[in-house]
């Protein structure tokens, strides 16, 4: 397994797919606190002759702005980075070559999932910490526990999207199909989230993890409020891994 994890890391690092995701979230970790801190000055510079009254930026706003950008553009980049994780190797024949060796199909698939999860967890938490420290130095100290909880919600939701991408990449033939369908589901899930926001279903809907980030940062929601969507999301992640693994173990290569 260690051999496959190393191979996975090297391949994705050198192809610049995973570094691209890290660079994008690093970009937002550095840009968002800065933008928020100097928004008034920037607007004042461009909008001469106009009087715009902007509320003073809060540290929670800076953290939320970062998390929000990652939950949209970051996830978008991640889908592109991981849509070929299995489909591309199936297409080129690398999967067949590897599986003609003493490696099980589950090991092959799990190595991909584990490296992707490590990238997401380490990447988002590290950049969130950076955004936290940067916000502290530029604006004020954000609430630590609440920031960590909001980041945790984002990480779990991102893991779900990443798992969906890998699962589709496993069962479908081309990376483009996998990426396209994941993007479609991602956008549709956002629309459904808006439609069901006030209903009881929202308490169990994965996108609620994202909707809860702002209330968590503001202190108007607690971790317990995210328990429902968190449980469902983790269940969906496990289900997707198991289903795609079973499908892959019977797949013609």
């Amino acid at each position: 397994m260690k051999v496959l994890l190393e191979k996975e890391l090297k391949s994705n690092w050198r192809s610049f797919r995973y570094p691209a995701f890290l660079l994008v979230i690093l970009f937002f970790a550095l840009l968002d606190p800065l933008m928020l801190r100097y928004m008034n000055e920037i607007l004042g510079y461009f909008a001469t002759g106009l009087e715009i009254t902007m509320p003073e930026p809060t540290p929670q706003d800076a953290i939320f702005s970062f998390l929000s950008d990652v939950s949209q553009i970051g996830i978008f980049v991640l889908i592109f980075a991981s849509m070929g994780s299995v489909a591309r190797e199936k297409e080129t024949g690398v999967t067949g070559w590897l599986l003609s060796k003493p490696i099980s199909r589950w090991q092959y698939l799990l190595a991909k999932v584990i490296i992707l999860y490590l990238l997401i967890i380490a990447g988002i938490f590290a950049c969130s910490t950076l955004a936290y420290l940067y916000t502290t130095s530029l604006i004020d100290q954000p609430p630590m526990a609440e920031s960590a909880l909001a980041t945790f919600n984002l990480v779990i939701f991102t893991l779900l999207i990443a798992t969906l991408t890998v699962a589709l990449s496993t069962v479908l033939k081309s990376p483009l199909q996998a990426g396209g369908i994941t993007l479609l589901i991602f956008f549709l899930s956002g629309i459904i989230n808006m439609l069901i926001a006030d209903s009881a279903a929202a308490n169990y809907y994965p996108n609620t993890l994202l909707s809860q980030m702002k209330p968590l940062l503001d202190g108007t929601a607690t971790a317990a409020d995210s328990a429902g969507p968190l449980g469902v999301t983790i269940f969906l992640i496990a289900l997707l891994v198991i289903l795609s693994g079973f499908r892959f173990s019977r797949m013609e290569l």
Partner: protein, 328 residues
Amino acid sequence: MLPAGERNSIKVEAIEISGLTKSFGSNLVLDRLGFQVRRGSIHGFLGPNGAGKTTAIKIILGLIPADSGQIKVLGEPHWFGRKHNFLQYLNYLPQDPVFPEGLTGREALCLVANIYRIDRRKSHLRIGRLLDYFDLTAAANRRIGVYSRGMQQRLGLAAVLLTEPELLVLDEPVSALDPGGRRQVLEIILKLKGRATVFFSSHILADVERVCDQVTIIDRGRKLLDAKTSALLNRFVMEQYLVTVKPDQLNLAASLIRKNHSVRAVTPHLNQLLVVSEPGESLKLAEEVLPELIRQGITVTEFMPNRTNLEDAFFKVLDENHRLEKAR
């Protein structure tokens, strides 16, 4: 499982296949295919494009399931979807060698060594030697993506040999190599005779003739022939004769030979007659035709079996099969 060294004493066949059938939709790709690959032999797997060779190889490797049939590899029954112990003793070279993206040649070999759990010190030594042997040392630290097709095929062969496998499954192993590279690889294969089993498909029949001691020929998913290479060549050598007579007696000789029931065809061929016997009648033909020609006053200056090679034999087997199919 026994350690690799002790496994050479196992008497079972390296590959045993029986009744192997596979369809893709309505397209029947393998039709009750069956053959055996002896341990320690070099076994050629021949067939025209689309005959089902790669499908059979993929089924043997467990990459695709068969619809029906039995397979044993190194004595172990084969079930699709299960991790097999025999994979530890088998190494496969695909027709177009591929490696994980972004790796250098040396890293790809290290990856293979680690998958097969070869001791680090031993693998380091072997990798150095193989890179050197295949003239890849200078390119060892370059990414495989910039390698030429020939270099990739040499690297693929190095990856196969690195694990010192008991069974090598090679799909067109020399197709991208220049004549020098081809000769080098064939020499390696010959050196493996008796030490490992080599099962390889190729369309370069001269290569197969040179190194293989057994061949299986398939067409449209069916086995046409499974024989020792020497027996196959002898069979076709014995089925054709070149007869040289005085030039002014050529037509008379031809008409006399045609009367014999063991003769299928007589064709003038560069002042000689090419005489083809009915299947299995070649000895009878020789016994009857030569005395008859002499009896009739024909001056026979030469009567000899026509030399043939595997390529001729291969096409004759295919032709025979097509004729039989038409007759049915």
